[in-house]
């Protein structure tokens, strides 16, 4: 089983890497032909497009295999270490990238997700992969799985919003045939944040409920808890600014980028600040 998991992990990296390379080829070809069609659907690049989508789907399938194999070996969701969570997070981001392509036919957003997911897989590859023994506090299978699954969805949605915001800022300063109109990117980033905000709220609520059962306190100002609350506050501020003040465009794009930096602080913060999540 270990060999199977290792092989699936490597294949996931290879196919995701292939999808990233093909995406780069696609955009280079697009740029050379001045991108006359709507973004992502130019007929001249169709074979490249289909190949990269197949590679991305194959990569996602192999990540799914790794996760399922891990569940069989450990008997619980693959959420008990940074290695496992990084793989789960990359799974969510690839899924988000494919969903964005299917929904909006904007390849740039999908490709952005593939790059992020590949980076996460490479990061996971640097960490010990041996399944670790589950500490007593983690032996709450339902809450562990629900809490971390919600985090995977939330982070993937915020990553999609981040990508849209970055592309928005690029698009308003230069004409790019491979990107849609700025208003469309602005709307996509808003919709992504709405989904992410709901799920990060669910993460915090489930985490508080679980902490109350396991540790006797629903909130202990643990660094990861606090960082997730700060992330939540930033995105809450974004939603207020957009809905109450009518903020659009550059201001909201910057807020989304700041919010995603907070997501990264939440994700990696336990390496620096310790705390209850430092396992």
């Amino acid at each position: 089983m270990t060999g199977f998991v290792t092989m699936s992990f490597l294949l996931a990296i290879i196919f995701l890497g292939l999808s990233v390379l093909l995406s780069a080829c696609y955009f280079i070809i697009n740029a050379r032909h001045a991108g006359k069609g709507s973004p992502g659907t130019s007929g001249a690049q169709k074979p490249v497009l289909y190949l990269l989508l197949i590679a991305a789907i194959a990569g996602w399938a192999f990540i799914t295999e790794v996760i399922l194999a891990r569940i069989i070996v450990t008997g619980h969701g693959p959420f008990s270490s940074m290695y496992e969570f990084s793989i789960a997070f990359s799974w969510g981001i690839v899924a988000a990238g494919l969903l964005l392509w299917w929904r909006y036919r904007i390849l740039a957003l999908g490709a952005f997700g593939f790059v992020l997911a590949l980076a996460l897989l490479l990061f996971a590859g640097t960490m010990p992969s041996q399944p670790s023994s589950l500490a007593p506090a983690l032996q709450q299978s339902f809450l562990l799985s629900a809490h971390v699954t919600a985090a995977v969805i939330a982070y993937a949605a915020f990553a999609a919003g981040f990508g849209s915001a970055v592309f928005y800022l690029i698009r308003i300063h230069r004409t790019a045939g491979w990107l849609p109109e700025p208003d469309r990117l602005d709307k996509i980033s808003y919709q992504a944040v709405v989904v992410g905000f709901f799920f990060i709220t669910l993460v915090i609520v489930l985490g508080a409920f679980w902490a109350d059962i396991a540790w006797g306190t629903y909130w202990s100002w643990d660094p990861k808890e606090t960082a997730s609350l700060v992330t939540w506050l930033i995105y809450a501020g974004y939603l207020h600014a957009r809905l109450m003040r009518g903020w659009r465009g550059t201001k909201t794009a910057i807020l989304i980028i700041v919010g995603f930096l907070a997501v990264l602080l939440t994700y990696f913060g336990n390496y620096f600040f310790g705390g209850l999540h430092s396992y």
Binding site: S133, A137, Y190, V205, I213, W215, T217, W221, R242, R245
Partner: protein, 420 residues
């Protein structure tokens, strides 16, 4: 929702004007943003600056000791200033609590303004609008934040939390905090994975109220025990040593299991340590597990440090398992080893408010963002040449998603016009 600034009518008194100014201030979205940013800054400070351990109240002797022995080692001359700003106990600082209260007031007043505006819009003979998920969701969200703040404050000020309630096997200890409860640890069991990390640890306990047994059960991580409104959580465990102390005429001064939860550094590895306090005899005895093996084995050894009447000096003797020794009028014995169980004991009157607020918040989010209603205003205008123009726009000027629906409607109207 903001109230636009208006001039005050001259007839208003000073206090009425003051009240209106305060109301306008708390109607401000900018104030909400400032308060949220302030709370975020407090949160970041609690991450970046080392915080005093939970259970140590600011102003207590333990807090002062922690400041001197831990914080000052890291921050040196800045320690005093940082302690004055309560940076080492941010989440219990009055400023943090006050900011939270201000935010709650801000949310209440904004919600009242919003409600008044909606009720005002229904006047003048308009048709009463049916229930809309979006609007109800917005109110649920803001109401839930107020409930959460109330729950947090109620728990902090009317509840208690003892994160280090330590009891040795076979011993009984009072919970305190006016609960009239005490807990007896009947037995403790621990299991380990193959790599030596803890797999499970559980405590069999009996709870007494006023000396009478009221509950008996098993406590383990993720499975707390509740008695009345007090909850007991399995928190930690460690070694304990059974000690006997006799005074003049073999009068028993102490007999029981002593938990060794502290650590004494003397050499490469720290030793587990506990304290026996016998105030009637003016004795403080430090128990150090210098050679503690698994319970039941014969080669354990402890060091006892005896201090009399706060003399300042501590005299040490060493005892093997089963050994008794006479020392300056005392007879000290080390009868065996065992384990202690560490519990977190808490009472939180605000906990139900927290869960209610959390569920209401999620419900409100779902209603507001996934069942969003949208109102459009339409005006039919007759032009000079006899033709009619239909003007359609979103009822809310800041509706970010109305464009696509407007395009659908205008497209449908054009098609209808062409068909006719």
């Amino acid at each position: 929702m903001e109230i636009k600034h208006r001039k005050f009518p001259r007839a208003l008194s000073f206090f009425s004007k003051l009240g209106l100014r305060v109301w306008r201030l708390f109607s401000s979205l900018q104030l909400a943003v400032i308060l949220v940013l302030a709370l975020s800054a407090f949160g970041l400070a609690s991450i970046l600056v080392i915080q005093a351990p939970s259970g140590i109240a600011a102003g207590s002797r333990e807090y002062a000791l922690w400041i001197e022995n831990v914080a000052r080692m890291r921050f040196g001359d800045l320690t005093g200033f940082m302690a004055f700003l309560r940076l080492f106990d941010v989440t219990h600082s009055p400023l943090f609590i006050f900011t939270g209260i201000l935010l709650a007031v801000n949310i209440i007043i904004c919600s009242v303004n919003r409600w008044k505006a909606r009720m005002g819009a229904l006047s003048g003979g308009q048709v009463r609008r049916p229930f809309k998920f979006y609007q109800a969701g917005i109110y649920f969200i803001h109401l839930s934040i107020i409930i959460l703040i109330a729950g947090f404050l109620a728990g902090n000020y009317f509840g208690f939390r003892n994160p280090s309630f330590i009891v040795s096997e076979g011993m009984t200890r009072e919970v305190g905090y006016g609960t009239n409860l005490s807990l007896r640890l009947e037995s403790f069991e621990d299991e380990y994975w193959a790599d030596g990390t803890p797999r499970d640890y559980r405590s069999r306990v009996v709870i007494y109220e006023g000396g009478s047994e009221v509950k008996r059960g098993l406590i383990r991580v993720n499975e707390p025990l509740a008695c009345r409104d007090v909850r007991f959580y399995q928190s930690s465990f460690g070694p304990a040593a059974s000690i006997e102390v006799r005074g003049d005429g073999s009068r028993q001064l102490y007999s029981g299991s002593v938990a060794l939860p502290m650590q004494m550094k003397d050499g490469p590895s720290p030793y587990p340590m506990g304290i026996i306090n016998i105030p009637d005899a003016g004795l403080i005895i430090y128990v150090v597990g210098s050679e503690l093996d698994n319970p039941g084995r014969g080669n354990s050894r402890i060091d006892l440090g005896i201090s009399r009447d706060n003399a300042g000096s501590i005299k040490w003797i060493s005892l093997g398992r089963g050994e008794y020794r006479d020392f300056e009028g005392l007879k000290l014995g080390f009868t065996g080893t065992g384990q202690y169980s560490g519990f977190q004991v808490s009472r939180d009157p605000g906990i139900n408010l927290i869960w209610t607020g959390s569920c209401l918040f999620l419900l409100g989010l779902g209603m507001a963002f996934f069942f969003r209603d949208r109102r459009l205003s339409a005006v039919l205008r007759r032009e000079g040449d006899g033709r009619y123009t239909i003007l359609i726009k979103p009822a809310a000027s800041k509706d970010p998603g109305a464009d696509s629906e407007l395009q659908e409607i205008t497209g449908a109207l054009h098609r209808q016009q062409e068909d006719s």
